[in-house]
Symmetry: C2
């Protein structure tokens, strides 16, 4: 197979107001320059589309710079090296890196991390349960929410990439009870039947506040892993136990809001129940990666981890995949297959 | 002076809906029984009225049981022992205890803590800057918000008992800049001229959100000590620096709400700025008392602490004092002089 000398890439051309559309993006084909010293060319096998990317499409000050207009976006990707002037990242190596939203990546070898695939899992799992997604769940439960054995855990967006990882890691780490919410009957069934959740709520069946209170009952919730924000955070605050911890990972409910949406009406519970709410960004927690990989690869080897993904084929459909993910069209990790 | 054998006490007779009124309370005079073994009778010199007491007037599950109806309320008090069958708490001792809302207290000696007055401060300071009020500020800044040298601190309700303590402790502990909000021009002037705040905002002059952003400028806020909640929390979330910490101590803005009030519209900043919001209740932090007392008594001895209070005379006016405090009628600690 010949070595590609072009890269098909997705660029942001206009910042979305509210829900993004195809008009916010364009596809370009660029000619790749010859490799310089210590560089590699990588055919991406899978690129990741993640909720946080919606935030980067806005021009607001944040922990991470917004996507530039008229430039190719970046994001998680895994691929294999097809050309190399590097001793440490040779041709044939499987690499994880941040040059997503394109089918071929190129740059200094230091920006590509050689990774080991896990027997029994597809390469795309390196973006999901074995990658940033799994690490996000692991860090949020551990360093942020200080999960303890015997805790009751609630996770919103539970059928998504991070959510399915949270539920399983919580169980492996000794949670007594794991409750999830999702947006369809199919997803809710998967949570209990496939992912080992003890209970699951379809938030479209009625107010999440009432449903959660009923499911939780007298036991209360010790750890809430918040992927959704808004009414889910409000519902959780109603049922948190004293000294409960909330890992605030995302607020997908509000990502596409054009108006400011009021927050929960029960923040007083933060005081009355001595709660801790803590937001986090994975970039500050890479030190947890060795412990995460040791745990997760062992669980995978033992057959104790369920890994699912929704695969969209072709870099030309990356925007479709992204939009579908924002609408909850995925179960497990949403990835784009690009080779 | 004869030893009193009756106690005038304030009871809760109806739970307030919204703002409390005199109709929610009654005054009773009870005959005190003879002392049993290891008991004391204490003439209260000062009793405390505090914002948290409003919460206890509601019949809701919380970290602390609600006040019972038709029973005498309790709360912080300092007094002197007038009769004792205890070896450890003798007649004449000055004691701090929790039998407030009455002019004479009686019970097992173990419930009364012998305390040392500080030269130059009135006995009532044992309820304020040297007591639970000061400790609340100390714990909130230290164990909860992890104040570090060089931090910029914002405190709401800054002219109140806890707020004036927060401002001064923050400065003593190395804060680079201390900003406060209060509800009158007089209070705001006191904050900068008397309590050493670098800047102060009268939230009645305009939206706190705009005023705070202007005062804070580019530096941002590292620690927000929240006594108010509502729009103040929202304003603070707008200006918090990355890794900022919010000590959620109270939400006096909402204590008398009968409707549920929506929360801040910018909770997303918890994620995007990696913020930590932590609620706390002093009862879980008494272990900090020795360190607090060592620091505070040293600062007082060095003349580096300003202590103010608003004194209402007579147990018969305890309810007036409480209502006035809820409306912000006090500068510094509100106490009722009962002897």
């Amino acid at each position: 197979m010949s070595i590609p000398d072009q890269s098909t890439q997705i660029q942001l051309v206009a910042r979305p107001e509210g829900w993004p559309t195809h008009e916010n993006f364009r596809t370009v084909v660029v000619d790749l320059p010859d490799l310089g010293p210590d560089e590699v060319r990588v055919v991406n096998d899978y690129v990741s589309v993640d909720p946080y990317m919606r935030g980067r499409m806005n021009d607001v000050k944040s922990y991470i710079a917004p996507f530039a207009l008229d430039a190719t976006m970046d994001g998680g990707a895994v691929g294999h090296v097809v050309a190399s002037t590097s001793d440490t990242v040779p041709v044939g190596a499987v690499v994880s890196h941040n040059q997503g939203w394109r089918d071929v990546a190129q740059g200094p070898a230091a920006r590509f991390r050689v990774v080991e695939e896990a027997p029994g899992l597809p390469r795309s799992a390196l973006l999901g349960i074995l990658g940033m997604t799994g690490l996000t769940a692991y860090v949020g439960l551990g360093e942020i929410a200080r999960l303890s054995m015997g805790d009751t855990v609630f996770v919103s967006g539970a059928a998504g990439a991070v959510g399915t990882a949270v539920g399983q890691i919580a169980r492996r780490k000794g949670a007594a009870r794991v409750i999830g919410s999702a947006g369809s009957a199919e997803k809710v069934a998967l949570l209990t039947e496939r992912y080992g959740f003890d209970a699951a709520i379809n938030y479209k069946d009625g107010p999440i506040r009432e449903q959660l209170a009923e499911v939780v009952g007298e036991d209360g919730v010790d750890v809430y892993f918040d992927n959704v924000g808004g009414d889910h955070l409000e519902a959780a605050l109603d049922v948190m136990n004293r000294f409960g911890r909330v890992a605030v990972c995302g607020a997908i409910a509000g990502y596409n809001d054009t108006d400011r949406t009021p927050g929960p009406d029960n923040l007083m519970n933060i005081v009355s129940r001595s709660l801790t709410l803590r937001g986090f960004t994975l970039g500050d927690h890479f030190s947890a990666q060795p412990a995460f990989e040791a745990d997760m690869r062992r669980w995978v080897a033992e057959g104790r981890i369920v890994h699912d993904e929704t695969v969209v084929e072709g870099i030309d459909h990356a925007v479709d995949a992204f939009l579908s993910m924002l609408e909850g069209g995925n179960t497990g990790k949403m990835v784009v297959k690009t080779s």
